[in-house]
Amino acid sequence: MVYFINDIITGALIGLLYALVAMGFVVIYRASKVFNFAQGELVIIGGFIVWFTTMQLGLSLWLSIPLSLVLAGLVGYAIERIFLTKLIGESVFSMVMVTVGLLILLRGLVLLLFGPAVRPFPIIFPLKPLFLGDMLIPMNLLAGGIITIVAAVGLSWFFNRTRSGLRMTAVAEDHVVASSMGISVKGSIAFAWVLGAILSTIGAMIFLSGKSLTFLASDIGFAALPVALFAGLESIGGLILAGVIIGIAQSLTTNYLDPLIGGSLGSVVPYIIMLAILLVRPTGLFGWRTIERV
């Protein structure tokens, strides 16, 4: 029973990590209507930046973490400048497809810059787990869970309650309308990518702390995707619930069902849950409903 509860807690925390990565998707979507397929790549880039500042430059964590976040933001900004700015005014679809190109491109660039080697990743959160009686909670996931919740609450306040947030919402609705009202679509998208890159870097730190880093780490992007859809692409607060549900479901499947069937249903379960919810609510739990009017 203790183990069962522990599995639920760990699952929920992993789910929150997914939610954090998914927040990268959502933030970019929420401020620009662009679905960023290259989100997983942003996670690796963040990872490599952290690796570079700690392992290569040898900076202490206190220095390297803020430095990495700034660098990540710059990378996000650069990507936006190079690839997306020129497309403002074109269909959103084109922008989304640019991110498909980016997915392939960034993967190659990471390889070119950092090579394929498996790199040690710094230990950012203590390796010793937290023991609660018989239960054990990995520190990185615990810290990640807290960060996720704080970030989600903060960002959803920002998007829903502040004037800037509303401006970005307008961009997400309709680029042309937003810019015809004097809202800088460029600024909104740039902000989104900076934020998306920073969130991804935080995600990378939690995900990879004390482990190893290769470009395969980008898979977490697609692991987090169901969480984003489950919550609905416009909902930041909803990610918490979605992450917890999916994380628990996945953990229980991996721990109790997979040994029985001898397969890895665990990795598919998030997608199955996502499909199920979308069939009931086609835009996720809290996403904007499609408006059809004639």
């Binding site: 403002i88 005014g89 919402t169 609705e173 015809s180 004097g182 679509v185």
Partner: protein
């Protein structure tokens, strides 16, 4: 053209189009050298048949052509001394022009009031924002009733009102508005025009594209008529309202001043085109 000069004498030019050409998709030439002048405080109407290029003119001014693969391929557009052809739409707004687009483009998932707030996003403080909201609501009480309605679900006319209100929120120097009366009930048209007149009296300049020529000419100081991407006629509004052809084709009254009956129209139709 003398009266026009008199009318506009002493007023600054706010918006000027010089031989503007607009090309869509690199091949379709939609405006073929259009020149116009809008002076401060004036209301200038742009009339013309379907496909004449009226909306294209507005889009060229406001910088929203790009999303339809169009560009200003020649000529210049000057707003308050700044050249704005092919400028990004959001910067045109910063220069004081708001374009109320055709097609009822409300921010559909936001409520009516949120739409208005976004419209006033450049307002520096909350008190001022509140004041402008109230101003909109007093001029258009219907919007006050609808303030919490998701704008995407509102009726066509309601959305039209919202767009006008949203433009007002930015307190622009000049509003370029595309067919404000489109889809409005007769009473509502009167109300909307009353609002426009009110704004005009408060000093807002208008660039007005209309099909409802009667309404447009009733408020406009000066009017241009466009056909096929060219200006074919222009003059002070009252002058144009007396023009025979304008009467027949835009105001729907016969030369004798009577309204024609739609039932009486025969199978043959007189087709007369101005050659530009």
């Amino acid at each position: 053209m003398a009266p026009a000069l008199i009318l506009s004498a002493g007023r600054n030019i706010m918006l000027e189009l010089n031989n503007v050409e607009v090309t869509y998709s690199d091949v379709i030439l939609a405006l073929k050298g259009v020149s116009m002048t809008v002076r401060e405080g004036q209301c200038v109407a742009l009339l013309g048949g379907n496909g004449a290029g009226k909306s294209t003119t507005l889009k060229a001014i406001s910088g929203t052509l790009k999303s339809e693969d169009g560009t200003v391929s020649a000529g210049s557009i000057v707003l308050n001394g700044t050249a704005i052809q092919n400028m990004e739409a959001s910067n045109v707004v910063k220069n004081g022009l708001i374009h109320v687009m055709e097609g009822r483009r409300v921010l559909r998932h936001l409520t009516s009031e949120q739409n208005l707030i976004v419209g006033g996003h450049m307002v520096p403080n909350t008190a001022e924002l509140k004041r402008r909201l109230d101003h909109v609501y007093t001029l258009m009480p219907r919007l006050a009733d609808l303030r919490n309605r998701t704008s995407g679900f509102m009726s066509g006319g309601e959305q039209q009102l919202l767009l006008i209100g949203r433009a007002m929120m930015a307190k622009p120097k000049i509003i370029a508005i595309d067919e404000p009366s489109l889809g409005l009930a007769p009473m509502m048209i009167r109300d909307v025009y009353a609002v426009l007149r009110q704004l005009k009296s408060e000093g807002t300049t208008f660039f007005l594209v209309e099909q409802n020529s009667a309404a447009a000419l009733s408020i406009a100081d000066y009017a241009y008529v466009m056909e096929n991407g060219r200006i074919v006629m222009d003059g002070p509004a009252d002058k144009l309202a007396d023009n025979e052809d304008i009467k027949e084709f835009y105001l729907g009254v016969t030369a004798s001043g009577e309204r024609k009956s739609y039932r009486e129209i025969k199978h043959y139709r007189r087709r007369k085109r101005w050659l530009g």
